[in-house]
């Protein structure tokens, strides 16, 4: 076990993959000489040179589009989007090109590439720098979507994503880069598996990315007030969903809460709840609860910003209120 920061875990994963395979390249804005705006690629340009750490102009469509072409040409590109909002300029490439080339070519084209994707509400970055797009990405067939809420997963899943022959969008949360965690370098981590963060028997709380930490912060108070125990699951893989882990937990607890930071309308949690309603209706003892961000652009003012997303306090309050009507 080694303790490291989330961004160091990502850096190490990229470093090891670049050392092992000369075809691995990384491209994006300020990824080379600057070391990445969240310092994820720090130090790599001095090891691997500017040919493999490619500083691009501000041209997101080209960053992803070039990565698709590089993959067609035999490289293994890692494209970095500086902040999720800018990826919208690349969505044509992500959706029309990256996700479809394999299928449209009857499997003759393979795109071994990763798009790294920092997202979420950070601190007062306002409406054009705070969004989350896992719902849109997961709605597109042909892309694997991973969401790293944990340092160990960040290291292992990014390595697996780089080695994978299918296109992956690797979502990171901007508030996690300086999170410390233990990495077990020799562990066998399946990137498609959810992680049981805490075991419990009365209530399953499903979340991902930074909200997992907020849920964990809320749990002691929920357990104190209800006298019941919570099981907390970090989904990690958003497409596909590890329904096996979810099913076992919900069958045990009979209750499901999904917590996500993103706007509630059309949010990813709706997929989890609809799957549970369709597949596990009779295992549920209560209507599921979704706790999500408000349907509002993210405001700059700190109080408004916090009012627009779930926080540990709000998670406690909403679960207690819901629990009172649902036998918790």
């Amino acid at each position: 076990m080694i303790e490291m920061l989330y961004r160091e875990a990502l850096n190490r994963a990229i470093d090891e993959c670049m050392a092992a395979d000369p075809n691995v390249v990384m491209l994006g804005e300020d990824v080379g000489l600057y070391g990445g705006s969240y310092r994820v690629s720090e130090g790599l340009v001095s090891k691997y040179g500017e040919k493999r750490l490619i500083d691009t102009p501000i041209a997101e469509l080209s960053i992803v589009g070039n990565a698709v072409g590089m993959a067609i040409g035999g490289l293994r590109p890692i494209a970095e989007i500086m902040t999720a909002n800018f990826s919208l300029l690349a969505f044509d490439q992500i959706i029309n090109h990256m996700s479809k080339y394999r299928y449209m070519s009857a499997g003759k084209i393979t795109l071994p590439m990763v798009v790294r994707f920092p997202q979420g509400v950070s601190k007062q970055l306002a409406a054009q720098h705070s969004e989350s797009y896992e719902q849109m990405l997961s709605a597109v067939p042909g892309i694997r979507v991973f969401a790293a809420g944990d340092v160990n997963y960040a290291y292992h899943a990014l390595k697996k994503a780089i080695l994978m022959d299918d296109p992956v969008v690797f979502i990171e949360h901007e508030l996690l880069y300086n999170k410390k965690g233990e990495v077990d370098l020799d562990a066998e981590v399946d990137p498609f598996k959810a992680r049981i963060v805490k075991e419990g028997k009365d209530l399953t709380i499903v979340s991902y990315l930074k909200m997992v930490d907020d849920v964990i912060a809320a749990v002691p108070e929920i357990e104190k007030q209800t006298g019941k125990s919570c099981e907390v699951i970090d989904l990690q893989s958003l497409n596909p969903i590890d329904t096996e882990t979810l099913k076992a937990s919900i069958e045990k607890t009979g209750r499901l809460v999904v917590v996500e930071e993103d706007h509630k309308m059309g949010g990813y949690g709706a997929q989890v709840v609809s799957w549970a309603a369709e597949s596990l209706f009779y295992a549920l003892d209560a209507a599921p609860l979704r706790i999500a961000g408000e349907n509002v652009p993210i405001p700059y003012n700190r109080k408004l910003e916090l009012a627009s997303i779930p926080t540990p306090d709000k998670i406690v309050a909403k679960i207690i209120e819901w629990g009172a009507n649902n036998g918790l």
Binding site: I58, A127, H129
Partner: protein
Amino acid sequence: MDKLTAEEIYYTMVLGRKFEYAAKEHYMTGEISGFLHLDIGQEALSVAAMKAFDHGDVFTTYREHIMAIARGIEPKAVMAELFGKKTGVSEGRGGSMHLFDPTHFFYGGDAIVGGHLPNAVGCAYARKFQESEHGVMAVFGDGATNGGAFFESLNISSAWKLPILFLCENNRYAIGTEITRVAPFLEQAKKAEPYMPTMEVDGNDAVAVYEAVKEAQAYIQKSHGPIFIEAFTYRWEGHSMSDPGTYRSPEEMEIWKRRDPIARMQALLKERYGMSEAQIEALDQKAQAAVDEAVEYASKSPEPVVAELFEHVFVEEVAHD
């Protein structure tokens, strides 16, 4: 340039610089948060362009405090926005990067690099449609000239002969990336040459910027179509408060500090317009007082309340779950 204009430009540049240093100070104390991009070193360009372009709409980026002030927005309303207050230009919703005031025809803060250029082109279409006297000025950095939105905007505005001035603020860097590492040349005006007339100016020379923008404004008003100005300048601070700025050499920074646009304007006031040391000192003091007042106003203003979270999402509210 007449004396009054010169004095006004100098005063606003000094006010702008003091405003930026005050913003920096209050960022350190945590009263201002998020991304804060300072315009120190580029005041000549920001102020003179706004003062010269008095017949039209302005679309610009996230590095826009000084432009907003030069455009006529009260310094205290800008500072209050940086503080996230209800009395700010955007009522605390936007912050430093998003200052909008249509009463001043100022669409200040778009933080998607290059993303505001098609909006500026669309507004220029509307002005032509209305047979208005107004044109549009779109301000953007060197970093915006490598994206699709930029090239699309050059093409469309030229094909449709729209009244738009593209003002490229070339400070050589987009965060840590020097323009010549990601474009084949330093002068981005070259990209516009096939589409429209282009001019290059020293962006640290307020008079040169003022005259070029005046000329450009007259040109677009005559419906000749778009025009392009590239102004060369340099930001003294990091890209934003979170940028350590280690990618620029101390020698390079030193060279540009010696080209201080404010010192240059001050010398001009003395030499060409015969202003005395005392008169200049009085302007500086007035600027300081305006900044102190802005900070005081911002810190005493109330915050928006949470009950207003959903205000301003739509014109018409519709009941929903």
